[in-house]
């Protein structure tokens, strides 16, 4: 087990390294001169040269890369645009991003599992049909479009919900929640639809398995058959998929954050992209990539725990 974890850690670091190189390469392909932009329009060449030297833009790329990576990890990273401390700004954005993701996740898992369960248990019936329609509709709409429509009808026109912006939980829990409800629901509609379908098909498969038949033939109560045998096995793929989705969401909920003005890490990332501001782009991409890779590893370990067949890599004899 320890060796497995160690190997994964090394893999994680390697992947993050590769991602950071990719970011650096992508943005150095752009024939833009950050020094010129920092100096402003019509700046004197001397000013531009001075900035170039101060920031090391005249060094070779590998050198620039190394310098930047050192700054990322030492917390000294300053953005080209605005000259602000990147790490600080990221840390400021974390509560909003995390509140968004965790809240949405709680909602979508609850409804996803509930609807998936109902669909499976009443498979073929009208409830199943309607829930499936809802679920498929949910995963078929552009999230940002849904957000825009919600904002229009529930915020601008009717003021039922406040328009975006994040309020600290510590400042006012009620406001915190009311500002997050629309973003939560928007995200949840997409993911709940997806998860309800995954659970439905997972349950239908498991319910046809031989061991469920064995459980019944042993004389177990239907409730026990459902909970201990059907659900326990059906939820395994849900748990693993959730790990992957949640990990990807933490670094990537850009559209939602932007539309609802949540000023989280994702929105900062988009602003940085708009300004082609490499330092924050690098830091935020690594932030997102870290969570993806981390949760990938967690999911793998969790899967081994949940399904003993996978554990030691032993084949069934």
């Amino acid at each position: 087990m320890a060796r497995f974890v160690a190997r994964r850690l090394v893999g994680m670091v390697a992947v993050l390294f590769a991602v950071s190189v990719m970011v650096f390469v992508i943005f150095n392909v752009v024939p833009s001169n950050p020094a010129e932009r920092m100096a402003g329009k019509n700046a004197e060449p001397r000013l531009v040269a001075g900035i170039t030297e101060e920031w090391g833009f005249d060094k070779s790329w590998p050198e620039q890369y190394v310098t930047m990576m050192k700054k990322v990890f030492s917390g000294d990273l300053i953005s080209y645009e605005g000259r602000e401390d990147v790490d600080e700004r990221i840390v400021e954005g974390i509560p909003a991003t995390f509140s968004l993701c965790i809240g949405a996740a709680a909602i979508w898992m609850f409804f996803g599992i509930l609807f998936g369960y109902l669909s499976a248990v009443k498979a073929g019936g009208w409830m199943d049909t309607w829930l499936t329609v809802l679920a498929v509709a949910g995963i078929s709409m552009p999230v940002f479009w849904l957000a825009a429509i919600f904002l229009n009808y529930l915020t601008y026109k009717t003021s039922i919900f406040p328009s975006g912006e994040y309020v600290e939980f510590t400042t006012d829990p009620f406001e915190w929640a009311s500002h997050l409800i629309l973003p939560w629901v928007t995200l949840a509609i997409l993911y709940a639809g997806f998860y309800s379908r995954v659970l439905r098909s997972s349950m239908l498969d498991v319910m046809n398995e031989d061991y469920v038949r064995t459980a019944r033939v042993k004389g177990l109560s239907e409730r026990r058959v459902m909970s201990r045998h059907v659900m326990r096995n059906s939820l395994i793929p849900i748990v693993t998929l959730f790990g992957l989705d949640f990990g990807a969401l933490l670094g990537g909920a850009i559209l939602i954050e932007k539309i609802f003005s949540l000023e989280g890490v994702g929105q900062y990332g988009f602003e940085a992209l708009e300004h082609t501001d490499l330092p924050p782009i690098m830091a935020i991409t690594l932030f997102g990539a870290f969570f993806i890779v981390f949760f990938n590893a967690v999911v793998d370990i969790l899967y081994a725990y949940l399904d003993p067949r996978v554990r030691l890599g032993t084949e069934a004899r």
Partner: protein, 345 residues
């Protein structure tokens, strides 16, 4: 038999509505099982043998199933029994083991845990320790070495034969009166098959465990059975004692089954004998005798479905569904000195 049979099935009919049409998987099957007796049900896939067994325990109930007839266990009419009643009987009085022990155990729970679960479902007052201990005893009783360690293993850590033994152990946990074994050896190696059969025979002998053994292999039957039911396309085509079926078979299908057994004690045939043709599609059964398309001895009367009747005066319990008279049967079933199924020369 003066004693009342333990289990008595009368005119069982099970049909399913499928996307291809209505399929009559079981069409008028009747038999009884006495205490301590081993009854073998033999047939190809699609003969209805598994559906019969599963229907007895109510496993085939569902919106697409049409079940008629009766299956009486002691004083309970199983086909009409409510859920609570069925639950009480399953595992407790009638137990069942299935063909594939790998998929029949839940892969995420330990074997001992699953056995204990069965015990505590019916005897909730049993403590976890006691149930665990009982599981170890059961595993020992079926011949699993190192039971005390093995009991905490996961199903995938057992070999095929041991897994099947563990299944049988789990089935015995509550000391049922009847064990239904649905193709218990089909998924196993030949040497392991023999072991499992010996185990079943031992359990029957030592505990008086009445057993219904379902298989497609007559060779398996010869080891253990007292009586045999031969099924084809949802109907019983012959039934009798083990000796009657093996030494005086009356139905051409039985001849075919016997003839196609590989025999060590005879010289090798030029060609492994087989029953020509293929098992019928249940969606498209022929009129009259369903074996007719494959029977080299078919004649005019076969267009009318033969009844399952005793046609031998000295053997009132030996029944078959073949219109041929007993003398013709005696002649036609002998092929190159042994019982087989071939067209008369």
């Amino acid at each position: 038999m003066s004693a009342q049979p333990l289990l008595s099935v009368s005119d069982l009919r099970v049909g399913f509505v499928t996307e291809g049409g209505r399929v009559q998987a079981v069409d008028g099957v009747s038999f009884s099982l006495a205490a301590g007796e081993v009854l073998a049900i033999v047939g190809e896939s699609g003969s209805g043998k598994s559906v019969t067994a599963q229907t007895i325990l109510g496993l085939t109930r569902g919106p697409n199933a049409r079940i008629e007839g009766a299956a009486r266990f002691r004083d309970t009419e199983l086909l009409a029994a409510g859920d609570a009643e069925l639950r009480r009987i399953r595992g407790n009085e009638i137990a069942m083991v299935f063909q594939d022990p790998m998929t029949s155990f839940n892969p995420v729970y330990r074997i001992g845990w699953q056995i204990a679960e069965a015990i505590r479902a019916h005897r909730p007052e049993t403590g976890k320790q006691d149930a665990h201990g009982r599981a170890v005893e059961l595993l020992e009783a079926v011949g699993i070495p190192n039971a005390a360690q093995r009991v905490d293993a996961y199903p995938h850590e057992f070999s095929g034969g041991m897994r099947q033994r563990a299944m049988i152990a789990m089935a015995l946990a509550l000391e049922p009166e009847v064990l239904i074994a649905d193709e218990p050896t089909t998924a196993l190696d030949v040497t392991v098959q023999a072991q499992i059969l010996r185990l079943l025979e031992q359990l029957n002998r030592e505990r008086g465990l009445a057993t219904i053994l379902i298989t497609h292999d007559l060779g398996v039957v010869a080891e253990v059975a007292d009586r045999v039911l031969v099924m084809y396309a949802g109907r019983v085509v012959e039934q009798g004692t083990l000796d009657e079926i093996f030494y005086d078979p009356q139905h051409p299908y039985t001849w075919g089954l016997l003839g196609s057994l590989a025999r060590l004690d005879l010289p090798r045939p030029h060609r492994l004998p087989q029953i020509g043709g293929a098992p019928p599609s249940l969606l498209d059964l022929p009129q009259g005798c369903s074996f007719r398309p494959r029977c080299p001895h078919a004649f005019g009367r076969c267009a009318e479905l033969p009844g399952l009747d005793a046609r031998l005066p000295d053997a009132p319990e030996h029944r078959d569904r073949c219109w041929l008279d007993p003398e013709s049967k005696q002649q036609r079933r002998v092929v190159e000195g042994e019982i087989g199924l071939e067209a008369p020369k």
